[in-house]
Symmetry: D2
Subunit: 145 residues, 4 copies
């Protein structure tokens, strides 16, 4: 499905996201990536809160690798992407990038502004009570085909 | 201007917003309120980052009063309002509320779902370097007429 | 017990606490106050996580009122106090203050530095599953006598 | 200097650190690591806020790699380490780990509890205004010898 190949989500930088260096605090890109990843999963039909009720399972982040390439500032608009790059039985790896939108670019292809951050996020499927890893339900795996 | 009377902004609850009680962490409503307040100011033509460059001044939060009326949970959609209730020479008071959107309500009037949080936020105008209070520039005050 | 009358907790300001204004982001004082309040409760013998297992109840913040009096900056050391000012059957009100420690003051009375923030926090006792208000267990109320 | 080889810092898990999964939100380990890294630098004589005034330079995080090995919960005490593993002209790589302290272990060697998170953080030296990479001042590099 094309959504599993390419997905983007717009974000605005607020005071809460910045630090005394005048730029977005680096740890907050993990939050930005998660917002985009959540919306990507939702667009694929994977509602995390509902799933927890149905399957007693949930995705949990098990590894993160990020590179910071440039600063974002207050009021900037960002475009955050999500793309599946590895599909295992118990975990997925999602490649994610954050771009700065510019007035002209936002009208066209927002992912062609300067890239500010890129990374890989591994999410594993676990039992929601024990947090033990388990196999991703087939109904979820099918969403990524 | 009607925007200064009534404004709403939609938000989604992500993992980052929740705590181990299974609900939105109360301090995060200050962030939600600020996002809505920022977009309300932007809609009125007040761009905070640009203003800082032009006037060497900025708004700073000087008082907050919040009441928590009900819980929000992961994946909930919220509708956050902002409304000017006091306009002084050096500060403004903004009344804000957060409502839970429901599938049917979100199509009609989103502010008629259950109210989760309400509060008053006082923002004062300060010199960006010294953080000393000063008079709000007339060009900004006019936006609220 | 004197702890319920006066308690203080030291904190350091890190990058995560600041915003692009170069100072501590105002919403973070709610976090600072909660850290101090948690340690005050712990000093009184009230362990929140353990209580949740024993009583199926927990404290939840229901009202916050804060005034911001001065800025804190990166690397500053703060002294955050907690003091019970109202004890009801279902809720408590805690007065809290944040002071900036100075090199000389920290050796003496840290609460005599400049006051940066003050507020009242109402915490209510709720059933941990339903989040419905209920009476504070007597064994907890006794800690505040 | 032995501090650059091994350093540990204690932390407590508060409500602000947890998410609706009942455990510490993974992005917050970047904050925990930064608190320990800041205190490690301070112990080595590197005060970041003061340095910014003196040198117009500052450290900025340029890469993060984290693995999440186990959950931390509300009220847990953690022991977070920092150790220099690479020293370049313009950047340093710091290896960091978070351990759960246990009542007996905290009296002895806190770093022998279960390991919850481990990672590598690359920090680069930049001009505080332009954010352009530059060489780490010699007076700072000497601290790590």
């Amino acid at each position: 499905m094309s959504l599993s190949v390419h997905f983007g989500w717009p974000l605005r930088v607020y005071w809460e996201d910045t630090d005394a260096g005048g730029i977005v605090f680096y740890a907050n890109y993990l939050k930005f990536f998660e917002r985009a990843r959540t919306e990507w999963l939702r667009a694929l039909g994977v509602e995390q809160h509902a799933l927890k009720g149905q399957t007693q399972g949930m995705f949990i982040v098990s590894e993160t690798q990020l590179k910071y390439l440039g600063p974002a500032r207050l009021d900037d608009q960002l475009w955050v992407t999500a793309r599946l790059i590895e599909k295992g039985r118990a975990s997925l790896v999602v490649a994610q990038e954050a771009y700065k939108m510019t007035p002209t670019l936002s009208l066209g292809d927002p992912s062609q502004g300067p890239k500010l951050c890129e990374g890989h996020i591994r999410i594993g499927w676990v039992n929601a009570d024990t947090l033990k890893p388990s196999r991703i339900p087939q109904t979820i795996l099918e969403k990524f085909e």
